[in-house]
Symmetry: C2
Subunit: 256 residues, 2 copies
């Protein structure tokens, strides 16, 4: 099986390297951003292009790992209806391929990818959607090269999963970023928070997040909350975030 990757960002980089490592032939990287394409192509030891008319048209599968906004346009430009077309986006319906691909699907790896951080694909859930049972089988075989954790999800489920991942990952990471700024303002190193962050993530392997909750909001400790709000009074956005989250925690636990 020969694959072409459309895109050279974080997802494309990790997925292409992992698939090549499992014996899939990646023949070419296409990216509008030539410099990104070159970097990934060099890692894979293959060719790249940023010109649509130089695209390798002989591949069995075209894997799109690009920004959602660019996906529709590129699908219409590539226009190879006999090949298998697959995207990797959480929030884009399979219907994006309608009219452009007879065989199409989605391979959505549920993970946060940064270029300089290796990940273990065997631990990553991969969510599959396909426009036929045959394509589904084909995509499952590809996914199983990488992980045992495969899920068959429709576009609606995947969209909800992606939204939940924004909370579980991006917003969580932003909590770390805010915390980092706050400890640094106290003259302390960020590393002081790392055991706390590790334990917070570890707890929910054996307890529900609801049962794992601690701190002033769940205790409705008004004295501490008032102190914290007063410390944030010069930082309007953080003040609002602190208020909204404390109230939301309190409401969730009141309903017990």
């Amino acid at each position: 099986m020969k694959a072409v990757f459309i895109g050279a960002g974080n997802v494309a980089t990790h997925l292409a390297l992992a698939l090549q490592n499992k014996g899939v032939t990646i023949s070419q990287i296409f990216s509008r951003t030539s410099s990104n394409a070159q970097v990934l192509a060099e890692k894979l030891g293959i060719s790249f292009t940023s010109e649509i008319n130089e695209l390798d048209k002989s591949a069995d599968i075209y894997i799109y790992a690009i920004k959602d906004g660019a996906l529709r346009h590129l699908i219409s430009k590539i226009a190879l209806p006999k090949a298998l077309h697959v995207h990797t986006a959480g929030s884009i319906s399979l219907r994006v391929f309608e009219g452009y691909a007879e065989r199409c699907g989605v391979i959505y790896p549920l993970q946060t990818f940064s270029k300089n951080k290796m990940v273990d694909f065997s631990q990553i859930p991969i969510c599959i959607e396909a426009n036929s049972p045959e394509v589904e089988q084909e995509l499952l075989e590809i996914a199983h090269l990488l992980t045992k954790k495969t899920y068959i999800l429709n576009s609606e489920q995947r969209k909800k999963l992606h939204l939940s991942a924004v909370f579980a990952c991006n917003f969580t990471n932003h909590m770390y970023a805010i915390a980092a700024d706050l400890v640094e303002s106290a003259g302390l190193p960020f590393e002081i928070l790392q055991p706390l962050i590790a334990e917070t993530a570890d707890k929910i392997k054996t307890m529900s997040p609801r049962d794992a909750q601690t701190g002033p909001a769940v205790r409705f400790d008004e004295e501490t909350i008032t102190k914290h709000l007063s410390m944030l009074k010069e930082k309007a956005e953080l003040l609002q975030i602190y208020k909204d989250l404390s109230l939301n925690i309190h409401q969730k636990h009141k309903k017990k």
Copy 2:
């Protein structure tokens, strides 16, 4: 050295068990909530009381691990000015002991404690404050029984650290709780998110949270953000949280 614990909640439970395990004699548990006191006393194989007049007055150190709101009142009631008095609260100044204790300090373990989840104290930073160099040395010796990660912080630093811990732990855990509700609404198990949560926490051991950020907000992917907001339109609180956090992430990264 003989210690009495005032309080029988999560912090008292973990700290008392860990200290006893390192050879510190805990003589008694005092808690207004008799049932909690009994549970902890049984774990330690010692006596308990919920009556202030039955308090063991012969201890060397009184360790207060109780709700912030109750601390002031109990300090004034216990009134044993010759003993060493120590609290464990992030947001309470050392001055709370003024007039009630000649020798006082703070032992603040920076961790999230739930009764049914064991923790490894050797990984926990313990923050110390004391009203004299002698007490500081004494408290450092106690802390070093448990961990090498000790920090000398004043009350102002500790208060900022506690605020940052609310973001790094309590608010982070609430992001997990929201994500759990969302995946369950898609008919998916919470466990699908666990590798993502683990990797998000793991990344910031080697990257700053700022560099680790991914997702629609940092990419300013308006199409995805719009979809997500529309999925949350029936949930006003979550909609507000999503908007505020996405905007805050975007602003933070714009300033790069």
